[in-house]
């Protein structure tokens, strides 16, 4: 049996956190199954970057090539098709990230290997791969059985697993593997990375963030929350739909494709708690969620919950603050 592969993810000369999360989970799985863990890193000049991987994986396969300098799924795919065909890993784990979401489904289809995406847990039960994933916006978890095969591909949700050093020293072996370019013409070309312009307000360092979600209903209701935040010396952040609608600038978005915040208190108003939002608010010391739906997933990630209408709570808060300040 061919062990476990983890695709190490890196960007701008840094290994991403999810790489270590996947390695930790896979180390555990590999130890339980008495098999080997292999990290795979693709890129240009990534040997130095790959070093920390040897502390987790028994083998680190380094594939370097000019064509792998930037992420273009076609070039990544040909490298992985080759490696998977050759080494026949039982499981290949890729992050459910902007890289993995572009790469994994197509790779699985090309190799005809069963795929389960966005997994928050996985185990092998009698040789069958069983995963847990979330459906219906995080309101329900599903135990999913993957069709029996001799190889599997999964994508792992970012921040679903906790990164930890292995229980014993590993000292994996680094092995350089030649790159196999695609046999067919690649019809996609990387042009550039564009970093977001710095915004006027920095929500990532604020001590108090008041977050608004789709529950705010209309743009005209935002000033009411701006006022509340101002009274408390905090800033207003938001979930993605608020930015999508153009109601707030993108630098206010909290979450996977927005910013991470680490306030003393995060007051979330009318936000359901999709995991892409949750990853951005993980750093908050205290989370207070106001939502009229008692089953909103955000309550599972909040220290304090208010099951009520935000249009009642916000005015009451403003009134109480004014009273306390004697005005």
């Amino acid at each position: 049996m061919g062990g476990i592969f983890v695709l190490a993810e890196h960007r701008q000369q840094q290994l991403r956190d999810v790489t270590f999360e996947m390695l930790t989970k896979s180390r555990d799985l590999a130890d339980k199954m008495n098999t080997t863990l292999t990290a795979v890193i693709l890129g240009k000049n990534v040997k130095e970057l790959a070093k920390p991987l040897t502390e987790y994986a028994d083998k680190v396969l380094v594939v370097e090539h000019d064509l792998l300098e930037n992420f273009v799924s076609d070039y990544y795919q040909s490298a992985l098709v080759h490696l998977i065909d050759q080494e026949k890993p039982l499981l290949t784990m890729i992050a459910h990230s902007s890289i993995g979401m572009e790469l994994a489904p197509r790779l699985a289809a090309a190799l005809n290997i069963p795929l389960a995406t966005d997994c928050i847990d996985l185990t092998f039960e009698d040789d069958r791969l069983v995963v847990t994933r979330q459906i219906y916006g995080g309101k329900i978890n599903a135990r999913v059985i993957v069709r029996k095969a001799d190889r599997y591909i999964v994508t792992a949700r970012q921040a679903a697993f906790k990164a930890q050093k292995p229980p014993r020293p590993i000292n994996g072996q680094m092995i350089e593997v030649p790159y196999q370019p695609p046999s067919e013409e690649v019809k996609k070309r990387f042009l550039e990375l564009v970093t977001p312009p710095p915004g006027a307000v920095d929500i990532s360092s604020a001590a108090l963030v008041v977050g608004i979600g789709r529950g705010i209903k209309d743009k005209s209701n935002i000033p009411m929350v701006e006022e509340l935040a101002q009274m408390l010396g905090g800033v207003v952040g938001c979930s993605r739909p608020i930015v999508d609608k153009g109601w707030m600038p993108s630098d206010r978005q909290i979450g996977q494709s927005g910013k991470s915040i680490k306030p003393k208190v995060y007051l979330a108003l009318g936000i359901s708690g999709a995991f892409q939002h949750l990853v951005g608010m993980k750093g908050a010391e205290v989370v207070i969620a106001v939502n009229k739906d008692p089953n909103a997933p955000i309550f599972g990630h909040a220290d304090y919950g208010v099951i009520d209408d935000l249009f009642k709570i916000v005015p009451a808060l403003k009134k109480k603050i004014a009273e306390a300040r004697g005005s």
Binding site: H96, S98, R106, R147, K187, K188, R240, S257, A289, Y304
Partner: protein, 263 residues
């Protein structure tokens, strides 16, 4: 530009009470409100905008039961020209792999320069169908697309959204598949009148035979993944609920802020 857009008819769950049904493998669908998948709404709008600029046609395709016609009609009202619905009772239980295969069988027979999907479906959240379909069609693809600039009819410059607000710009030759991210545009309002007018338009319905698909390739039989059991996610934190009138709740919230030195 001939554009095919894949759309899914999904239950809207954000504000609904979701209950697991007695089989333990599905949710109670009764009473849920269905509509077009949020991501697909943006994809259809993008397709219609491209058509309005460059000419051509927009064809929407869904795999789903008769009720999914309402989603197709919404797309027709928004400016799509043709609608195709694939259905067979045997399709029940199909995972995204099967859906991608079915869509491939439909789309390979159409004339297209672009295929658009959403990044993910709100219900299964798998974010799989787009890239898989691109592999079956043997065309290049890009996901998390936030901007499409067409250079003549031969290539497109697209902006892909990465983590933390970072964007990646790539050039992709056509025909290509793009999985659309929300916020790429502002979907236009569709009037009731528009939807009523779209009632007269034809929806082409296809079955497994029309697509030369065997029963064994679809539904549970053909799927890679099978839901074994549903359960309510365990809470990660113990949430203390603040109770009382809004004023009482407000007082408690201010107490928490005070204890953190924020008030």
């Amino acid at each position: 530009m001939n554009i095919v857009v894949c759309v899914k008819h999904v239950p809207k769950c954000a504000e609904a009470e979701i209950r697991i049904d007695p089989t333990g493998r599905d949710i109670e669908k009764h009473g849920l409100v269905y509509d077009i998948n949020e991501w697909d709404d943006y994809a259809v709008e993008e397709a219609v905008r491209i058509k309005e600029k460059f000419g051509g046609s927009v064809t929407v395709v869904t795999v789903g039961p008769e009720e999914a016609n309402s989603t197709l009609r919404k797309c027709l009202a928004r400016g799509a020209d043709n609608a195709i619905r694939v259905y067979d009772p045997k399709l029940v239980g199909s995972d995204p792999y099967v859906i991608a295969k079915v869509l491939y069988k439909v789309i390979k027979n159409l004339q297209f320069d672009l295929v658009l999907t959403g990044v993910m479906a709100e219900d299964d959240g798998s974010a799989t169908v787009g890239p898989m379909l691109a592999e079956f069609l043997k065309i290049p693809h890009a996901t998390m697309v936030k901007k499409i600039e067409l250079k003549d009819h031969k290539a497109a410059i697209v902006h892909r959204e990465l983590e933390g607000g970072l964007m990646e710009v790539v050039e992709v030759k056509l025909p290509a598949l793009f999985a659309i991210q929300t916020g790429i545009n502002e979907p236009r309002y569709v009037s009731i009148l528009g939807i009523r007018r779209a009632m007269q338009k034809e929806i082409k319905v296809l079955g497994l035979k029309d697509l030369s698909l065997d029963e064994s390739e679809v539904g549970y039989a053909g799927s890679w993944t099978l839901i074994d059991k549903l359960f309510v996610p365990p809470a990660e934190k113990v949430c203390q609920y603040l109770k009382g009138s809004p004023e009482e709740v407000a007082t408690q919230i201010l107490g928490i802020l005070k204890s953190r030195g924020l008030f």
